[in-house]
């Protein structure tokens, strides 16, 4: 794995897969959420895009199929279902396997290629080949996107030749669509080139690009942020365009354009010949349907007149429209009228009569009333987007009554009657009449700019606010640095070595004083040492902070586990995660993963009952597993609580006895709490038959071994038929260990502080031999005693002090007190433990070594193994 690009790809892909898995499960639980669906689609799309950079066609193919499926879900063509979730999760599992293979060998195995191909085919066959559904989608779309382009776009910016081209297409029966495309600022990082996308738009008629923000100082601009917007006209149908822009649909807006929006004559209005004759002639030709003569007349006039004139521009439009008579008759008439008045043509029916009304009506209504009316109109506009009919009816009712009240208070009985008549005709399905009535009655009295602003807030998709958000978001993203773990480990090792090197300074100071007799130098060295010491401590602290990761990195895989297992077992289970932000060292967190999987599997398999059983017990049908993390002193506590059937201590005891794990005597005397902890014994399982999930008797002892390996502990509490709580406790960090240094036979050893209970001196006489074993009584407790030299097979007696007493180190091993006789106690120290490797790794009596400040090597004792060694 030498290609850094692939390494980066692998790191990123795992993140994406993780997030995809999470979203799929959240969607299943909480139903469809547009934002999540969008995010999901983007993630899969990015992943697919990234995979395309390398030569992994089977992976790209599978992701492509998944992406298409997600797109259908996103567009609402097919509803999100458990089946889809299964299929997509399986697909992502295959991708995950492929990524592991790429990491390990740099290539994909034949098996995985086949798996991927098969899954891609399955997705295609199940979901992507259903023409009926596609059609349904096509029908739904225009309704949703019915927006009025006129309001948001000034079509006069489009040069006439392109408008003519577009109108021509429209007259041929095509729909003209205005597309506003505001690429996201970060798009370049995703390998996108918006201009390329735009240039390849199907049936592109016209396009313009512009900067959406001012750049006051070009030298400070971020050249990798996209600040360009695009606006284009196309005569392709909406489906083709949606397909073309499918990866950036959230950044694109489509608007239907009417031909009349584009027919805007332009040019110099003064000068040129007098046109009155032409206008009257033209009207005559039109009425007589004398198309050819009309056309000839227009043509010759165009040739005669200067192309810069308004008149000529109108003629050019008429020339175009003549070929499509009679349907264009109204438009031509309006154009001719505009020639007479030299004002822009007015197309359509409703606009003309409203203009004179404006002057008459305006003074009749006070400003407040118009404001109310305006806001009601805005609500009406938004009503389109509401799907629930009951809500729609209620809203409509309130609009009608507020307008009625307004009119009543103004005493406009005539208009009130008219309105009441109209409101009776209005229904949630048809309120266009009401809208039109407001527009025609008061439309021109309303402050139109305000209307635009409020009615179409979504249209300003490149508003500065959203840009700011994007920018700030990009800043937060760029501040997170992803580093390979080995690099951090290397840094930590280096810091460890630095700590060791630093520790040699006090020895040097001592030597300068004692050996060379330069006490001043010794003082200076000590002063320097204190500075270095402070820095090294801070460095250690900093590296520890870097290594801290939240437990969520382990927890996040459990929703999926619980989902899959509960399905398999036909149980209903809800997983509640608490305190997932709790942090601990990365190694600690990773060590939690396997034990937790075991525990959760156990809870699901043995703990939570089947729905029927739960109902009969009067419990809710759905069981709950709570996964909780929290800090407690320098430990992180993980609790797994389930509200299942609990652990039957008697049953456990009996089982353990039957399996010969406990003696009859133990069976009689054992307390409930002790009995429950028997589940941690190797070879213990209560499941009647081994299931696929757990119950093979390797469960809980694996948990205990794994947790203890990392210096943690595990305990279980249970209330029958109520709950079982399993608590794992692990140290926050394993990088620095605190040890007590002891001496035996002139060698120094380290003993982990967490095992040390106390250090005492006892006289030789107090050590009694009981059944061949050495013991003593310490604070009314019998404590077994071992001699360290014996344990380490050193053939030397232990040293006693002047008072004739042994140094006794009292340790807690597996919860029991044990005394170990040593020669001397020394100070405690923070060390960086290096486990043995190679052949020495089998020497379990020692946990590893640490290098001391004077360069000597300290052997660190593993108390548990040390005591075990004595028993063999």
């Amino acid at each position: 794995m030498s290609n850094p690009l692939i390494e980066q790809f692998i790191i990123e892909s795992r993140d994406y897969l993780q997030r995809i898995g999470e979203i799929l499960i959240v969607l299943e639980e909480n139903g469809e959420d547009k934002n999540l669906l969008n995010e999901l689609f983007r993630l899969v799309h990015t992943l697919k895009g990234n995979s395309g950079l390398f030569d992994f066609p089977s992976m790209t193919k599978l992701l492509h199929a998944s992406e298409d499926l997600m797109n259908l879900v996103r567009e609402g063509t097919i509803p999100y279902s458990s089946d889809i979730a299964d299929l997509l999760l399986e697909a992502m599992d295959i991708v995950s396997i492929i990524i592991d293979e790429i990491k390990d060998s740099g290539s994909i195995s034949h098996n995985s290629i086949q798996l991927a191909e098969k899954k891609a085919k399955e997705i295609k066959e199940k979901f992507l080949k259903s023409p009926e559904k596609r059609e349904q989608k096509i029908e739904e779309k225009p309704e949703k996107k019915e927006e009025i382009a006129e309001k948001i776009f000034d079509f006069s910016v489009i040069p006439e030749e392109f408008r003519i081209k577009a109108v021509k297409e429209a007259l041929k029966g095509k729909k003209i669509i205005l597309i506003q495309y505001g690429p996201e600022a970060e798009c370049f990082y995703k390998g996108e080139d918006p201009l390329y996308l735009v240039r390849n738009t199907p049936e592109l008629i016209w396009v313009r690009s512009y900067l959406r923000e001012e750049i006051p100082d070009p030298s400070l601009m971020d050249i990798y942020q996209c600040i360009t917007n695009f606006e284009l006209l196309s005569s392709a149908n909406k489906e083709e365009l949606s397909e073309h822009f499918k990866y950036v649909l959230d950044q694109v807006k489509f608007f239907d354009v009417e031909p009349t929006d584009l027919i805007i004559p332009e040019g110099e209005k003064n000068g040129g010949p007098v046109y009155e004759d032409f206008v009257s002639d033209a009207i005559k030709y039109l009425e007589e349907n004398n198309v050819q003569t009309f056309k000839n007349a227009v043509k010759s006039l165009i040739e005669l007149s200067s192309s810069e004139l308004y008149f000529t521009s109108v003629l050019r439009w008429i020339e175009l429209l003549i070929d499509y008579l009679p349907k264009t008759k109204n438009i031509i008439e309006a154009l001719l009228q505009s020639l007479e008045t030299m004002t822009p043509p007015k197309f359509g029916l409703e606009k003309e009569p409203t203009l004179p009304q404006k002057k008459e009506e305006k003074p009749e209504f006070p400003e407040e009333f118009l404001k109310i009316l305006n806001s009601q109109k805005i609500v009406l506009e938004k009503l389109k987007t509401i799907e629930n009919n009951i809500i729609k009816t209620n809203i409509l009712q309130s609009i009608i009554s507020s307008i009625e009240n307004g009119l009543m208070s103004l005493k406009k009985t005539e208009i009130l009657n008219e309105f009441q008549e109209l409101s009776q005709k209005t229904s949630p399905k048809d309120f266009k009449l009401l809208k039109k009535w407001i527009e025609t009655k008061f439309g021109f009295s309303l402050p139109s700019e305000k209307v635009d602003e409020t009615v179409s807030p979504e249209i300003t998709f490149t508003s500065t606010e959203s840009q700011e958000k994007e920018v700030s978001l990009s800043h937060t993203i760029s501040k997170v640095l992803k580093v390979d773990e080995t690099k951090i480990d290397r840094l930590m090792n280096l810091i460890g070595e630095f700590v060791v090197a630093k520790n040699s300074l006090p020895y040097l100071a001592q030597k300068a004083d004692n050996f060379y007799g330069i006490s001043e130098l010794s003082k200076e060295i000590k002063a320097q040492y204190s500075v270095l010491n402070r820095i090294s401590e801070e460095m250690q602290d900093a590296i520890m902070q870097i290594r801290m990761v939240p437990v969520s990195t382990v927890f996040q895989r459990f929703p999926r586990l619980v989902r899959d297992l509960s399905k398999k077992l036909n149980k209903k289970v809800k997983l509640v995660i608490e305190g997932e932000e709790t942090e601990a060292d990365k190694n600690v967190i990773e060590s939690l993963s396997d034990p937790l999987i075991h525990i959760i599997r156990n809870s699901l398999d043995h703990g939570i009952e089947t729905p029927e059983e739960r109902i009969s017990k009067g419990k809710p049908e759905t069981g709950t597993i709570i996964l909780k993390a929290k800090h407690e002193a320098d430990h992180v506590l993980i609790e797994v609580i389930d509200d299942g059937k609990g652990i039957d201590a008697e049953k456990i005891k009996l089982k353990a006895y039957q399996k010969g794990l406990i003696t009859e005597e133990q069976f009689e005397k054992m307390k409930e709490n002790e009995a429950i902890n028997l589940i941690f014994l190797p070879g213990f399982s209560t499941a009647e038959s081994a299931t696929d999930l757990s119950g093979r008797g390797v469960g809980m002892d694996v948990v205990r071994t794994a947790v203890e390996k990392f210096g943690g502990s595990v305990r279980v509490q249970s209330v029958i038929n109520k709950r079982t709580t399993i608590t794992l406790s692990l140290p926050l960090s394993m990088a620095v260990s605190h040890v007590m240094i002891i001496e035996s036979a002139k060698e120094k050893y380290g003993v982990p502080m967490e095992s040390v209970v106390e250090t005492v001196r006892i006289s030789k006489q107090k050590i009694k031999r009981v059944k061949g074993k050495m013991t003593t009584v310490l604070r009314n407790k019998i404590v077994p005693i071992f001699y360290l030299n014996d344990l380490l097979e050193i053939n030397k007696p232990h040293v006693i002090n002047e008072e004739g007493k042994y140094a006794l180190l009292v340790l807690s091993v597996k919860g029991e007190l044990t005394g170990v006789v040593v020669d001397k106690f020394h100070e405690t120290a923070d060390i960086i433990l290096k486990p043995f490797t190679g052949f020495l790794a089998n020497m379990k009596v020692f946990a590893g070594t640490a290098i001391m400040g004077d360069g000597s090597v300290l052997l660190i004792i593993n108390p548990k193994e040390l005591i075990n060694a004595s028993r063999i």
Binding site: P194, Y196, L204, S209, I223, T228
Partner: protein
């Protein structure tokens, strides 16, 4: 090299990609009156296109490609 710099003129050739954005940006920063020759330009990445918008160089020759010619002259 898709961009040839000569005194005050940058000639953009064939496909000007995002990799050229940095060089182009620095070149613009150093020139008071930059000029660009686009005759042989086939495609320009958006990142470079927006540099043209920001620095507004004098376009001494338009692209031969019809649609692209339009792009660079109709900016707002």
């Amino acid at each position: 090299m898709p961009v040839e710099f000569k005194n005050n003129t940058a000639k953009l050739i064939d496909l000007v990609s995002i990799e050229d954005a940095d060089a182009l940006f620095n070149w613009f920063l150093e020139r008071k009156k930059p000029k660009v020759d686009l005759t042989e330009l086939c495609h320009i990445h958006t990142a470079c296109l927006q540099l043209l918008f920001v620095f507004k160089p004098e376009i001494i020759a338009h692209p031969e490609k019809e649609d692209l010619k339009y792009w660079l002259t109709t900016r707002q």
